[in-house]
Symmetry: C2
Subunit: 279 residues, 2 copies
């Protein structure tokens, strides 16, 4: 793992790294914020970004460092897909291929070798993060849009790995959303029975639960709410499954980082509360 | 003035505008943050960005909205130069021409018609801002690097227009710095006697003063400190001139937006304190 650059910020450090991933068989980049040494580390957080993003978006735009620094939380932000490849249709659309890994392990011949973001996050990146910062598995996960989908799916699949979970504007039911259908067809193939394990609502229906409250913030002026995000389906599935959850609808807010920045303090407090208890 | 897009943020609104400027004879863009209507407006702030930046950098990266919203300050961020032209050498270097207007009125034949950022900021943009938000000239100015230079020079030249002033990592003595020499030669010509009115240290030596304390934050790990920024020259000139000032050197911080974000709250408090008094 090689450090590319590092900037002091909020008495801590924002840094960028690159490493050769065995999961994706490509180089992968990630960003880290590390609170000042004077603050006791409460735990770690993995942030998963949305479509078209990379490891930089959240750490430059969300204004999280102030709170991470005060709360004693280490943050790691991976990229959203492998890079540097030239697979079939990989660079054609914003919502498939590069910048759109969907945090799953692909099955189709064209993608199965490299598009293994689930494995990359839950095994490789998790391991590096856990070890480098001595986190003792006291790690939460959150994300935005496609990354909100990733955070929810990974936390339900691996509630032993992720002590806390939250999401901004997540794609909660990708099996029924155009973005999800396109991604799942391309990465998993046409057998829809193989899609369910990558869908939050389906996982809840199958009995997967998370021991802690799932926090979701959703803007009511979000242009993708009705067609792609389907937040109501999550509420129904979570109620059916008796999954502890809180969905906050935010009047007037859209799908952008201006929305995330406005409520990031609340999400970080949610994680800090749980990660402090666990510890 | 045409609104391009708008995002609710921190209960207020971050918006982007475009208009036909009579000063630069080009279209110009700017960003605005407007606090929620429930908060009483204390005053307005003009932010001037540095080399290579445009109207977006500060408003997406600095994390200022939270404080502006709480303090009741309206913010406007102009672009750093005219755009859409093709003047001699205009797009060759990052430190001259587009993205590098230096907040002056050019005199050289190639640039004098369009590169009039001083006039644009102090007359046209100031007028739009003052009127649109009923600010009654209760306006402060601040900026970063080239924009820190702009904020200091404009506030010293027009202390009647700018009630408060501060700067991050400003170019305080451009007549003696490579960035300044290159810009001033290209925009003003070889007669160095014409440069002094665009140089903070020279203005102080000539007796220009600002009635309020000038706040400067400067990172000690800033890669441009020794050669380009020359902060010590400001301290000397301000002391000689009995200009009330506070220069904060920040251990370990560099020239980036991670530095700005870390201390933006302090700068906004400085402006809010003065603008509240004035009002």
């Amino acid at each position: 793992v090689k450090e590319i650059k590092s900037h002091k910020s909020f008495f801590g450090k924002t840094s960028f790294f690159e490493h050769e991933s065995t999961s994706t068989q490509t180089p992968m980049k990630f960003a880290v914020f590390c609170p000042p040494e004077s603050v006791e580390t409460k735990g770690g957080l993995i942030w998963l970004s949305g479509l078209t993003c990379n490891e930089e978006n959240f750490i430059t735009k969300a204004g999280a460092q102030k709170y991470l620094s005060e709360l004693g939380l280490v943050l790691i932000c991976p990229d959203t897909s492998p890079r540097g490849l030239d697979l079939e249709n990989e660079h054609q659309d914003y919502d498939f291929g590069s910048g759109a890994g969907f945090y799953l392990d692909a099955l189709t011949p064209a993608y199965s070798q490299h598009y293994r973001m689930h494995q990359y996050i839950t095994e490789e990146l998790y391991g590096i993060f856990n070890q480098k910062f001595s986190l003792k598995n006291n790690i939460g996960i959150f994300g935005h849009s496609m990354g909100g989908h990733g955070a929810l799916v990974l936390a339900l699949q691996h509630s032993n790995l992720f002590a806390s979970v939250s999401a901004f504007s997540p794609i909660v039911n990708p099996c029924l959303a155009p973005w999800g259908k396109k991604a799942f067809s391309g990465y998993l193939g046409d057998d829809e029975s193989l899609w369910a394990k990558w869908d939050t609502c389906e996982l809840l229906k199958q009995g997967k639960k998370h021991p802690q409250e799932i926090l979701i913030s959703q803007g009511l002026a979000d242009e993708f709410l009705e067609e792609q995000l389907l937040t109501k389906n999550f509420e129904e599935a979570a109620e059916q499954a008796s999954q502890n959850h809180q969905v906050e609808y935010c009047e007037g807010y859209d799908h952008s980082y201006y929305f995330i920045a406005s409520f990031v303090e609340q999400h970080l407090m949610h994680h800090a509360r749980i990660l402090s208890q666990v510890k």
